[in-house]
């Protein structure tokens, strides 16, 4: 399949801070591609460069083969963007906002009116179309931004943290809409720090940290890559001494959450760790109420990657 979005060695610094440091990726037609990372990883800056909102210090970005910085108007005519930090015009109503954006894509009036009506109905804000946007809730504004991104029926959608700060119902609605868009053949580039969301929606993900892509692949690929890891969840009858646990399990990574302790083992052979857990139970004189062993979740992989990078630096 052809790559319709390409980022080639993008670099961007703000003062002394290198926000994006040599990011490259390509997205194929019809894919949902996720840029995943903690706050400040450089996801939004990457999207802003790929969509031509800001210029990179070096590197290039292409949309449908058009260089975003040499031919921004042509390149942007294929995309719809829901930026993370962006707003519709608050003193205009939803309909007027949609009409302005539609006109900027030079869509004929009758077509854009028809599309605006369909989108507002689909997103459940048609009845509010004549209300000024400043009276809209955050969720309604986000839905309007989505409608504004879809008014040109773009081939490619950039969604920067589309569900950030939304209530469960609105977030769920937006996720189901993203999947509907994929069914209709749209290519979607999604940035998120919500790991579950990325695992649920994305065909491929790139995990970013400190301006760099530190891992990329399908969520399943990443799980296989980290397949030799086992996650053991222990639930004791009371909180136990962390120092004692660390003494017994010093070869393992442990996470304490009150009575619950998570142990990450880099092996599928659990005999050694189970022996040590028995010793802890005896030494602390506690009851082990629950024990669960599983492969790493996508979230665990994400945390490990970020942690590994932190340790390296």
């Amino acid at each position: 399949m052809e790559a319709i979005v390409e980022a080639c060695d993008l670099v961007k610094s703000f003062g002394d801070v290198r926000a994006v440091d040599g990011v490259s990726f390509s997205v194929k037609r019809g894919e949902i591609y996720g840029l995943l990372g903690p706050n400040g990883a450089g996801k939004t800056t990457t999207v802003r460069m790929v969509t031509g909102i800001i210029a990179p210090d070096s590197g290039e970005a292409y949309i449908m083969g058009y260089n975003v910085h040499d031919d921004p108007v042509r390149a942007r005519s294929f995309i719809g963007v829901v930026p993370e930090i962006s707003n519709p015009y608050l003193d205009l109503n939803a309909w007027e906002n949609l009409m302005i954006v539609g006109s900027l894509y030079c869509i004929p009036k009758t077509v854009r009116e028809k599309r605006a009506e369909m989108l507002l109905k689909m997103l459940g804000i048609y009845k509010e179309r004549s209300r000024k946007v400043k009276g809209f809730s955050k969720g309604m504004r986000r839905r309007l931004l989505l409608a504004m991104a879809l008014i040109s029926d773009p081939d490619i959608l950039f969604l920067d943290e589309p569900t950030s700060g939304l209530d469960v119902m609105s977030a769920r609605m937006i996720r189901s809409l993203i999947l509907k868009m994929k069914e209709r053949g749209k290519t979607i580039i999604l940035t998120t720090h919500n790991i579950d969301e990325a695992g649920m929606l994305c065909d491929r993900v790139a995990i970013m940290n400190k301006g760099k892509i530190i891992a990329a692949g399908t969520p399943e690929d990443l799980k296989i890559k980290f397949g030799e890891y086992t996650r053991i969840l222990l639930c004791f009858s009371r909180e136990i001494d962390a120092k004692l646990v660390e003494k017994y399990l010093r070869d393992y990574e442990t996470i304490f959450q009150g009575k619950r302790v998570t142990v990450i083992c880099r092996s599928n052979d659990l005999s050694d760790v189970l022996d040590k857990i028995v010793n802890i139970v005896k030494a602390c004189n506690v009851c082990l109420e629950e024990i669960q062993a599983s492969g790493l979740s996508f979230e665990d992989i994400f945390v490990r990657l970020i942690q590994e990078r932190k340790n390296e630096t």
């Binding site: 969509t51 909102i53 921004p72 108007v73 042509r74 963007v81 015009y89 900027l104």
Partner: protein, 250 residues
């Protein structure tokens, strides 16, 4: 294909101009301020100084065009950057230049509208221009020139509209005093005269004097040529500087 691109570009500039008009100009307070600010400035100079209404209405038109065309433009870019609507526009298939030209066009049209309103009021009270065509041409060029001047102030690398307003007031208010509107240029102190000759308001004020009383310092053709040259210069500078400061805004 190039022609089609140009047509689409003009269409987008017009859409952005209409958006600016709706958001910033077609509002009661803006309309009132557009008339009140120059009106009170004019009254401050005219009342009690034995200057007749007929003599002074050209000054009011010059002031109105100057203030109305350059008052809102400085704040639009910082305001839109702050509201994050600038980023929303920049993610659409438009260039920054189209956005800026839309802003300048809306401001020029507002200045032209208010100035013609005053010309009509003048005609109703029997203050009739001797050369209406030249007056109309002057109003159009001057309003465009002043709107680009306002756009130049908006290039200040800040997303706080008050910063741009302060800069614009610091430049515009002194210009009123040295541009021959209330104090004839011949009566200005020698050290202020060079400044008067680089002020865009001087040439419009001179042109207006010519169209109403045929009493001007320069030939009207010179006024028109200088105004057009200043417009081009201000437009290029405003567009270039705004592009340069865009990264700091976003």
């Amino acid at each position: 294909m190039k022609l089609e691109d140009a047509r689409q570009c003009i269409e987008k500039i017009w859409v952005l101009c209409l958006k600016d008009m709706k958001l910033y100009y077609f509002k009661g307070p803006t309309m009132v301020m557009g008339i009140l600010m120059p009106l009170f400035l004019w009254l401050a100079f005219v009342v009690g100084k034995g200057i007749s209404f007929t003599e002074s209405i050209p000054a009011l038109i010059a002031l109105s065009s100057f203030f109305t065309s350059s008052s809102i433009t400085p704040i639009i870019m910082p305001w839109e950057a702050r509201q994050k609507t600038l980023e929303m526009l920049l993610s659409r298939p438009v260039t920054l230049y189209s956005i800026l030209l839309g802003t300048a066009l809306a401001s020029s049209l507002f200045g032209i509208f208010i100035s013609f309103l005053l010309v009509i009021i003048g005609i109703l009270v029997n203050v009739i221009p001797c050369n209406p065509t030249l007056l109309a041409l002057g109003i159009v060029i001057a309003s465009t020139c002043y709107s680009f001047m306002g756009l130049l102030f908006s290039a200040i690398p800040s997303d706080i509209p008050a910063d741009a307003v302060m800069l614009s007031s610091a430049v515009r208010l002194p210009l009123v005093f040295i541009s021959g509107i209330f104090i004839p240029i011949q009566n200005l102190p020698e050290y202020l005269k060079p400044l008067a000759f680089i002020s865009p308001l001087t040439y419009f004020s001179d042109l207006i004097n010519n169209t109403y009383s045929q009493n001007s310092i320069f030939d009207p053709i010179i006024d028109v040529i200088v105004l057009i040259s200043l417009t081009v210069m201000l437009a290029i500078t405003a567009l270039t500087l705004n592009k340069r400061t865009l990264t700091k805004r976003l």
